[in-house]
Amino acid sequence: MNLRLGMVTVAGVAAGLALWQTRRVQPEFPHARHERVFPTCESCHTVEADRVTMPAATMCTVCHNGSIQPQVEWQAPSRRPSNLQFNHAQVVAAKQAKLGMAFTCATCHQVSGGGRMDIQRVNANGCLGCHAAGKDHHVDAPCATCHVALTEATEFTAAEIAGFTKPADHTDQFLQTHGSAADESSTRCAVCHARDLCSSCHANAAEIPAIQALEPDPRVAGWAAENQSSLPLPASHREAGWWENHAEDVATSARSCAACHTQTSCRACHVDPVPDPIRELSAGQDPRPTRRVPPSHTATFADDHRALAASATSQCSVCHTQDQCTSCHLASAAVTRPGEDVGQYHPANFVQSHPAAAFGQEVECASCHNPEAFCRDCHTVQGLGSNGRIDTGFHNRKPAWVFGHGQAARQGLETCATCHAQRDCIQCHSALGGRRVNPHGPDFDPEKLREKSPVMCAACHPRSILNSGS
C-alpha cells in the first residue's frame, strides 16, 4: 500500500514538472541564448518606417515543439507607449549614409561591452550623449521635431502623462511667464499639454489663440478636474496696498488680469457702471476670486467710517452705491449693504431703547434724522412732544426740574430739541419778556453770531440788533 502510494506521488510530481517545463511562459526573449540560432538581427526583425517588426510566435514552435525543445509560450512584446515620432528606416538610412555599414542595429541596441546578442532597449541617454544641448551634435529643434502631440499619443494613461518629466525651463517662475513661451510655439506645449489643462486655469481660454491651437483631450480634462488646486497668488497681489490700488495695474496690464479673471471676478465688488477695462474682460463665470471685506471695515465701521468715506469717496463707490448711504443717512426703514441686502443699522428694539443712545450720543442722530421732521413729529404724535407746559410730569417727574435743567440741556441739547420747540425755551430765555433768563453759556461769542446770523439774535434781541446795525 505504501509502495503504491509512493509511486503515484513520484509520478504525479514528475508529470507536473514536465507540464510546467513545457508550458512555462518566457517573460522576455533570451537573445543571448539564441545567438547561434539567429546569425543576424534581420533573421527575425525587419526595419519599417514607424517600427521594427517582431517575429511571429509560430517561429518558436519550429524548435520548441516539445520534442526538440520544450514547448514555450512567447508573445511579441506590446508596443511601448511613446510620443516619439521616430522613424527607424529614415534614421538607419541617414546614419548608414553617413557612417556606412558600420551603423547597425547593435550600434544602438547592443549592451556596451556585451556580446552580439546582448540586447537592450535604446537608452535615450545614448542619443543625448552627442545630441544634447551643448554637445557637438546638438540638434536645436522644437520638441515637435521628435515628439507627436499629446493628443496623438493615445497609449499614455492620464497618470503617465502626469508623470512626464518637466523640461528644465519649467521652473516655479515659469508659470508667470509661460504666456510668451506659448505664443512663440504652441506646438512645443502640445507635446505634453492639451487645451483642457490651460482651460482649468485660464478664465479667458476661449480667447487665447495659443490655447485654442491645442486639441482637447479627455484624459487631461479628467486629470485636471480631479486635481484642482488653488492657483498661486501672483507676487503683485501680495504687495501691501495692492488691493486698494489694483486699478493702476489693470490700466497697464489688463491682459494679464484676464488670464485669471472674468467680469464676474470684478463684479464681485464693482457696481455698475463698471470701468471700461472690466467691460473688456470675458463675461464668463469665474468663481475663484471672492469678495472680501476691506481691513478698514471693523466691527464698528458703521459708526466710524467718516474719515475713510470722506477722504476716499471714490474707493467707497467701487462697492457701494449711493442709495446704500441714503438708506442710513436719510432715516430709511432699513439698511442695505453689499452682499447683505437687508439689514438694520439699529437693533430691532431700538425704538424702545433709543433714549439711552440719544442721551449718550453714540452717534450723531442728526446726520440721518432731521430732528424736527423725524424725532419731534413722532414724539408729538405719541404724546411725548412738548406743548409748552412745564408742569407735565416728564424728566423723572422731578418737581424742580425746570430750575435745574441747564446742565442737562447743555450736555444734551440735541435730545431737548426732539421734544421741545424753540418757543418752549424762549418762554424764559429771552430778552423780549418772560423771565429773561440768559441762555448763553461758556464760549458764546455774540459778536460772531450777530455777524453771521443777525436773524437768530433778533429772535430775542430785536432792539439790540437794530441798535448795533445803526
Binding site: 457696481v271 439711552a356 405719541q382 424753540q422
Partner: protein
C-alpha cells in the same frame, strides 16, 4: 388733551400711491431677466412694518383731590405735577393702542449706455404710505421723496452732475438742487470739486420751507437757502488719504447764513499693521469746533486688532434756529477696543469708552447730573459649522440722561444656501431715563431670509414684554408684537449677491 397730527392723506390717495409703488417694484422684478446688466442697474426695495403704539395723553385732576406722600403729590397711585398756585395737577395717561403698518418703497435706478461714454441718469426715490393710520409713524403722510436725481457725465479726468444730489463729506450729508463739477488728477490722486445750488434741510430730502418742517412754526425760514462748497481730496501715497471741505449755506434773502463750516479728514497707515485716522470740523458761524477724533489701529497679528480712540463731540445746529445760543457743551471721549479671533470660527470684540463733559456753567446744587459717562460692550460670533452661527452681545451705558443694560443673542441656520432662519432673544433695562420712565424689556423673535438670483425676501417677528419699574408714573407697558417684511429686487450687478 394730547396733541395729534391730523392725517393728511385720504385712504384713496394712499391706495393709489401704494399700488403704484408696488407695481413699480413688480415691474422691476419682471424686467430683471430682460434687462442688460451693461445698461441698467436698479433696485426696488419694499419694507412693511407692523407696529403697535400706545400714545400718551395729557390729563389733569383738581389739586384738591390730590395728596402728598413722601413729598410727592399723588392722585391715588398716580404721581402728578402741580405748578405753584395752580388749581389742577397734570399727568400723562395711556391712550388707546394704535396699530399701524408703515410701508417704505425705495426705487434706485442708474441708466447709462446712451452712446456717450460716462453719461448716466440716476434716480433714487422713496415712496411712503401706511396701511393703517398715517398719523402715527414719522413722515408716513409725506408720500414721495426724490432723494437724488441727476444727470452725470463721468470721465476719468472729470465728473459733472446736474440735478438733485447730496454732498457726502466730513460735514455729513447735505442735499441740494444744483450742479457739481469735479476734476481728477490721477498721478497725484487728487480730486477737486465745486458744488452749489439750492440747499435742502439736513437729514431730509426737502427744502427748509417744506411743510415737513411746519412744526418749526414762526422759526421756519420763509426762503430757501443757497448752498455751495469746495472740496479737495487726495491720496498722496498708497497708504494715506486726506480731504478738506468748506461749505456755506446762505439764506436766499441774504438775511444771514444757516451754516458755514469746514472739515478735515485724514488717514495714514505707516505700516500695514498700524493705521491712523483723524477728523475735525469747525463751525465758522459760532467759532466752535464740532466733532473731532483720532483713532489708532494696531494689528500685530492677523487674529488681533487693537484700537484706541480719542473723540470730541459738540452738536451742530443751523443758525436759523436759536439752539446755538444755548451753548451746547462738548464732551471728550477716550476709548479702547480689542478684537480677537482665537479660532477661525470664533471672533470676539470688547470695547469701552469714557466721556467727560466740559463745564456747562449751569449746575445747580439740587439737580446735578453726571458730567462723566461710560460705555462698555462685548460681542462674539461663533460659526459652529458652515451652516450654524451663534452670536451675542452685551452693552452697558451710563450716560447723563439715561442708563442702559442690554444684551441679545441670536442663533441662525442655513438649511440651504438660499435660506437663512434665525431665532433671537434680547433683554434690556433702562434706568434713570429723563423722559418716560424706567423698565425692563424682554423680546423673543425669529427671522427668515430667502435669497434668489432675482432678489431677497425676508421677514422678522418679535414679541416684547415690558416690566415697568415705575408704576407710580401711570405709564403703560410696552408689551407688543412687532413684525417687518421686506422684498428686494435687483437689475444689474449687485456686489456679493447670488447670481
Amino acid at each position: 388733551m394730547g396733541t395729534r397730527v391730523a392725517p393728511s392723506a385720504t385712504l384713496s390717495s394712499r391706495w393709489v400711491i401704494g399700488t403704484t409703488s408696488i407695481a413699480v417694484a413688480l415691474c422691476a422684478a419682471w424686467t430683471t431677466p430682460r434687462a442688460s446688466a451693461q445698461e441698467w442697474r436698479g433696485r426696488a426695495f419694499t419694507r412693511v412694518q407692523v407696529v403697535e403704539l400706545r400714545p400718551l395723553r395729557l390729563d389733569s385732576v383738581p389739586i384738591a383731590t390730590t395728596t402728598v406722600e413722601n413729598g410727592r403729590r399723588m392722585a391715588g397711585q398716580q404721581l402728578v405735577t402741580c405748578a405753584p398756585a395752580a388749581t389742577h395737577c397734570f399727568f400723562y395717561a395711556p391712550d388707546a393702542v394704535v396699530s399701524t403698518a408703515p410701508v417704505t418703497q425705495d426705487i434706485d435706478i442708474s441708466v447709462w449706455g446712451f452712446g456717450v461714454q460716462g453719461l448716466r441718469v440716476y434716480l433714487n426715490s422713496r415712496f411712503r404710505f401706511s396701511l393703517a393710520d398715517e398719523a402715527f409713524w414719522p413722515r408716513s403722510d409725506d408720500h414721495f421723496d426724490l432723494i437724488r436725481g441727476y444727470v452725470e457725465l463721468n470721465r476719468p479726468r472729470y465728473r459733472f452732475r446736474l440735478g438733485r444730489d447730496q454732498q457726502v463729506s466730513g460735514l455729513g450729508f447735505y442735499g441740494y438742487d444744483g450742479a457739481s463739477a469735479m476734476v481728477r488728477f490721477r498721478p497725484a490722486r487728487l480730486e477737486l470739486e465745486a458744488y452749489g445750488g439750492w440747499g435742502l434741510a439736513r437729514g431730509l430730502a426737502e427744502p427748509v420751507t417744506s411743510d415737513a418742517l411746519a412744526s418749526l412754526e414762526e422759526f421756519q425760514p420763509r426762503h430757501r437757502n443757497y448752498l455751495f462748497g469746495f472740496r479737495a481730496a487726495a491720496r498722496p501715497t498708497v497708504n494715506s488719504s486726506v480731504e478738506a471741505i468748506y461749505q456755506k449755506e446762505i439764506q436766499t434773502d441774504r438775511s444771514g447764513i444757516a451754516s458755514e463750516r469746514v472739515a478735515l479728514d485724514a488717514r495714514y497707515a505707516p505700516i500695514p499693521e498700524v493705521s491712523l485716522q483723524g477728523h475735525a470740523d469747525y463751525d465758522l458761524g459760532t467759532g466752535w469746533w464740532g466733532k473731532a477724533g483720532a483713532t489708532v489701529g494696531w494689528s500685530p497679528l492677523a487674529e488681533l486688532h487693537v484700537e484706541g480712540r480719542l473723540l470730541r463731540y459738540r452738536p451742530v445746529f443751523d443758525l436759523q434756529t436759536i439752539w446755538a445760543a444755548f451753548s451746547p457743551t462738548p464732551y471728550t471721549g477716550y476709548g479702547l477696543a480689542v478684537s480677537v479671533r482665537p479660532r477661525p470660527d470664533l471672533s470676539i470684540r470688547v470695547e469701552g469708552e469714557r466721556r467727560d463733559y466740559g463745564d456747562t456753567d449751569a449746575e445747580v446744587p439740587f439737580q446735578v447730573t453726571t458730567d462723566r459717562t461710560w460705555r462698555a460692550g462685548a460681542s462674539a460670533r461663533w460659526s459652529i459649522d458652515p451652516r450654524w452661527d451663534l452670536e451675542g452681545s452685551y452693552w452697558l451705558n451710563f450716560t447723563f440722561g439715561s442708563a442702559l443694560s442690554a444684551g441679545e443673542a441670536r442663533v441662525s441656520v442655513r438649511p440651504m444656501d438660499e435660506l437663512s432662519l434665525g431665532a433671537r432673544f434680547s433683554a434690556f433695562q433702562q434706568l434713570g431715563e429723563f423722559r418716560v420712565g424706567e423698565g425692563r424689556v424682554w423680546s423673543l423673535g425669529g427671522d427668515v431670509r430667502y435669497e434668489t438670483a432675482l432678489g431677497t425676501v425676508w421677514g422678522a417677528v418679535d414679541r416684547y414684554r415690558h416690566d415697568r419699574r415705575d408704576p407710580e408714573s401711570g405709564l403703560p407697558d410696552w408689551n407688543q408684537i412687532r413684525a417687518s417684511f421686506g422684498l428686494a429686487f435687483y437689475i444689474g450687478s449687485e456686489p456679493g449677491r447670488r447670481r
